[in-house]
Subunit: 306 residues, 2 copies
Amino acid sequence: MGLAAGDGRLAIGPGDDAAVWELDGRALAITTDSLVERVDFLRSFQTPWEVGLKAWGAAASDLAAMGFGVEFGVACLICSPDTFEGTVLDIQEGMVEGARRDGALLAGGDVSSTDGPLAIAVTVVGSGPAGQAVRLGGAVPGDAVAVTGRLGGASAALRLLERGAVPPEAWRRRLVAPVPRLAEGRRLRAAGAHAMTDLSDGLLLDAARLAAASSCRLELWADHLPLEHRLEHFFPGGSLQLGAGGGEDYELLVCLPEPVARQLSSASKGTGISVVGRVREGEGVRLLERPEGPDVALPAQGFRHF
Amino acid sequence: MGLAAGDGRLAIGPGDDAAVWELDGRALAITTDSLVERVDFLRSFQTPWEVGLKAWGAAASDLAAMGFGVEFGVACLICSPDTFEGTVLDIQEGMVEGARRDGALLAGGDVSSTDGPLAIAVTVVGSGPAGQAVRLGGAVPGDAVAVTGRLGGASAALRLLERGAVPPEAWRRRLVAPVPRLAEGRRLRAAGAHAMTDLSDGLLLDAARLAAASSCRLELWADHLPLEHRLEHFFPGGSLQLGAGGGEDYELLVCLPEPVARQLSSASKGTGISVVGRVREGEGVRLLERPEGPDVALPAQGFRHF
């Protein structure tokens, strides 16, 4: 959202994954995110409880991308005429479950009505050490580009559901109940990450945003992308498209010094990171078949509306 | 919103005007509020800029009701298909103007789309001294009941607009651009207010909520209500209904020790407060014609959907 510039009270203002201000040596971060029925979810594909869980997780993921924890959240639930009381309670329970999983509390909220589709807006507040939030615009040429976890599961699940097929449960969970990478985000911050964001709109789009904020080019290597296993089996010839272009994986994309990246990617503890490219002088994103290889032609694609 | 109980991390949990947590000797408060087109506003009655200003003000008003200031806000803007870019910018400008007026910053936000009506969810964070937030449930028998400002202007403006008439501009502004009583809220907190809430749903409904949270009865005196001047002229015989039952005035309803109330109501500085009743043992709200007078029969009424 294009907002008025800060006036020094904000350490990080509009345009990053979250806004950050500092208070007595601590940094506090706030971010807000909405899910709208028929745009961001379909009730035929996920239960109200899962909708609540996803609404919480998508908001918390923006704090993970700062390298911060999440402490409190509040939610506006805007109910369509066909939203019954039990549905409201299930959505709330899903948000409470997400908060519990992440060591946070759902602190309050507001229930209102609309004659349109159901919508949920979740705002989360978290904290971290002052001056250490990982920005979107901190990448420098020479940095390694890395991602957490595996890519493409959420969008593969969505494609299969749209065809009336039953996706592997692990992929369906990626879509309907993504887990924000809070521990990984903190670990990457502590390790000295230069720039970070979460993968909500798809690797290529989110990488382009990070590149623009950092005034650099991100070079990505297709053969290094940690695609979900069996993606090529379900989508012959289409796995790269899903992994690089599909959204909603809610993994982290991070730029960090190469030696650090090598060390973290070989560590066996926690969700691993994979080095998938390098930061270069220039602008935009280039997807190469492999390091020093030719460009891959992929139709631009990111988050798909239903 | 009926939420999971806190676990000690929240000084004030779900159910009050805002949730409060404490950090290094300061208290931080967070609250969220939404405006939905055709439920909470009509674009034929107010400009997008005014919609943004009202969305900000309605959220900030909940912090005023804690006796706190407002420091930062974030907004989710969920756009209907007929929401053009200029409309989005105007709504944002309205929110920025509200933040500026209140000494706060709009720190970030999220713009998404819906096939239903336009909706705006604003979350604000503010702070105050630890342990001093004014709760909804702190009234005690013997307290005076008081309100800031004048009542009935917002709902009178709405009635006139619905008839195609032109309301006095001061009333129209009450409806489309309410000013949160932040300075008054802080003053009332510092003066030792026991319980406070903002008048969003109408005096009778909001008083009933405060009475229930405080396990007391609120006795209100019709002849003491500070109705907007000229209300009876525009609505012969209907002014009390509008002043006591109409919503969206965004004044403060406060319960405080009687000597303090008398002192504040006779002070000439700032928005005055008017003593309008007394806290009694019991439950619910009673509206009397005058102190010790007979009950007034009023149809129950509060916030009206369009």
